[in-house]
């Protein structure tokens, strides 16, 4: 036990505390609150906003997709073979992030990607005699190396994560509740609105928060996809480590501390909601 605690103390707590202390010091080592001002810096503010935006969009979209897919393979009675493939593939996809994921999407939706080429090839001759290719997605303004492209890419691990975390809750809905609702003349909509959703919402919210946190902390996928041209907070921290782009190391620590605060709020929220869920799952 003691070696473990010592290991954690030296290699996890000490580095984190070091950043924490650095965030409240000026460059001479005196205590100051001035570094909080870094969040008023245009670049920093923008990076936080983009990170929050990407995390929010992918957690909501991923959450909705994941929920309906989990519904489809549990209560929706999709064919068993589909259920098996989706469940085991979710485990794979949720673990498949980082650089290879970015490469896969470049090969699929990049300028010369597989899908891009297929869409581009759908052409026909218009009445006026000219060639029209309405599905040339890059012509239509799509760009994989943008926030939209990053969102599509993140979704690849986001919705499987939702499937994995929400499926146990859906499986925990008792058949008697549905039967009771039907016996009392309730329609499907009644059942969902008055019974299932009120029971499920803590786990839906909790899982979405988990998705949010997983997108917020992601670095490698964005770096490999866009070469750092989308200013996520993680990318900015990376640049700060490389070359002190803020011209003030202590502001860099404050920048990093801000991330930890947001992540901590997320994980605490998730844990509390999960506790609520496990209470009724057990009963």
């Amino acid at each position: 036990m003691l070696p473990f605690l010592l290991f954690i103390l030296v290699f996890l707590i000490l580095p984190s505390t070091n950043l924490f202390i650095g965030a409240f010091q000026d460059q001479q080592g005196h205590f100051t609150l001035a570094n909080v001002g870094v969040f008023l810096n245009d670049y920093v503010l923008k990076s936080y906003l983009i990170s929050l935006e990407v995390s929010l969009i992918t957690s909501v979209l991923g959450g909705v997709m994941g929920f309906f897919i989990a519904y489809a393979i549990t209560l929706g009675k999709a064919p068993a073979w589909m259920r098996n493939i989706i469940l085991s593939f979710s485990g794979l996809a949720a673990n498949f992030g980082g650089v290879p994921l970015a490469f896969a999407f470049i090969a699929t939706l990049g300028h010369t990607g597989f899908l891009t080429a297929i869409f581009k090839g759908i052409c026909f001759t218009t009445a006026a005699g000219t060639q029209a290719c309405p599905f040339d997605i890059y012509q239509a303004g799509f760009n994989l190396y943008s926030v939209a492209g990053l969102t599509l890419t993140y979704l690849y691990f986001q919705f499987p994560l939702m499937i994995l975390t929400i499926t146990p809750a859906l499986e925990g809905l008792k058949k008697e509740w549905l039967e009771a609702s039907e016996n009392l003349g309730g329609k499907s909509a009644h059942y969902w609105w008055h019974i299932a959703l009120p029971i499920l919402w803590p786990s839906i919210l909790g899982s979405s928060i988990l998705l949010f946190a997983s997108a917020f902390g992601a670095y490698a996928t964005a770096e490999a996809l866009t070469g750092g041209s989308i200013y996520l907070v993680t990318i900015l921290i990376g640049q700060q480590i490389r070359g002190d782009v803020l011209n003030n190391p202590n502001e860099g620590y404050a920048l990093a501390l801000g991330m930890v605060v947001i992540m901590a709020v997320c994980i605490v929220g998730y844990t509390l909601l999960q506790r609520q869920t496990s209470r009724w799952l057990r009963s």
Partner: protein, 264 residues
């Protein structure tokens, strides 16, 4: 839900999921085979696999993965065993500690490591060997949630106290109990933790990149900047590797993980 048949709404979502899973997978496969104009070939794979830098970085990351596994088991196995046997009240604290790597993003953690250990008195980044020590520690921490969970699940399924008492009454010392009684009983749990650990280290970018070590992640990013088809081939290869790791876990996990092999 009165009928046994799938409804269209459910089918729609299930099919959407399958498309989202398999179109990029197929697209990547197709793309990776088109390096030579006009025909399908394995040229991109040949180029990747014959690149000495790829082999070197793969060997580095694989070695680091194995070292990380050994260090992790040496740290976590005795700790969790001790927790089960003597200090069960420490569990909530240990659980919070083991999810800390989820709260502190890897990039922030790396930032802290560099700030703390690159300067005096530690100076752990001055030579490659010292940096390797630091990077191993980093990998151990990053994969800690998975390793802890795997061993914890395994430990829960065996009778720790009974096994310990039986071994003690036969005259075993602590080392023998740990590595000849507890370890064999947890071999599937440890194997699954080890495989996830390995997959994590192999795919890791941030630590290798910022500590400037020749790991696979930074190498892949570099190739991604320089060439078009090799990245797709590497994505397929790493896909296959992840698949194999998770496949082995599922294979052994099926019922075996909860089976105690001795003493029951």
């Amino acid at each position: 839900m009165k009928t046994k048949k799938a409804n269209l709404w459910a089918l729609f979502w299930a099919i959407l999921a399958l498309l989202y899973f398999f179109v990029p997978l197929y697209g990547t496969l197709d793309f990776s085979l088109r390096m030579q104009r006009g025909k399908l070939s394995l040229m991109a794979y040949k180029l990747v696999l014959s690149d000495p830098q790829f082999l070197a970085s793969f060997r580095y990351s694989a070695t680091m993965g194995l070292i990380t596994i050994i260090v992790s088991v040496l740290i976590f196995l005795p700790t969790i065993y001790w927790m089960y046997l003597k200090v069960p009240q420490a569990r909530p604290v240990v659980e919070i500690i083991t999810i800390l790597p989820f709260i502190i993003p890897v990039i922030v953690f790396t930032f802290g490591l560099i700030r703390t250990f690159s300067g005096p008195p530690f100076q752990l980044t001055v030579t490659p060997f010292r940096t390797d020590i630091l990077i191993t520690i980093g990998y151990v921490i990053i994969s800690m949630p998975y390793m802890y969970r795997a061993i914890d699940v395994g430990m829960r399924s065996i009778d720790v106290r009974g096994l310990t008492e039986a071994a003690q009454s036969l005259g075993s010392n602590w080392l023998q109990i740990l590595f000849r009684v507890i370890f064999p009983n947890l071999r599937f749990a440890i194997l699954s933790g080890a495989l996830i650990c390995f997959a994590t280290v192999i795919g890791e970018l941030i630590l290798g990149d910022f500590l400037v070590r020749p790991a696979l992640g930074p190498y892949m990013v570099q190739v991604g900047r320089d060439s078009a088809y090799q990245p797709a081939a590497m994505a397929m290869l790493s896909w296959g590797l992840t698949w194999i790791c998770l496949g082995i876990i599922q294979l052994f996990g099926r019922g075996n993980i909860s089976r105690q092999i001795t003493g029951r």
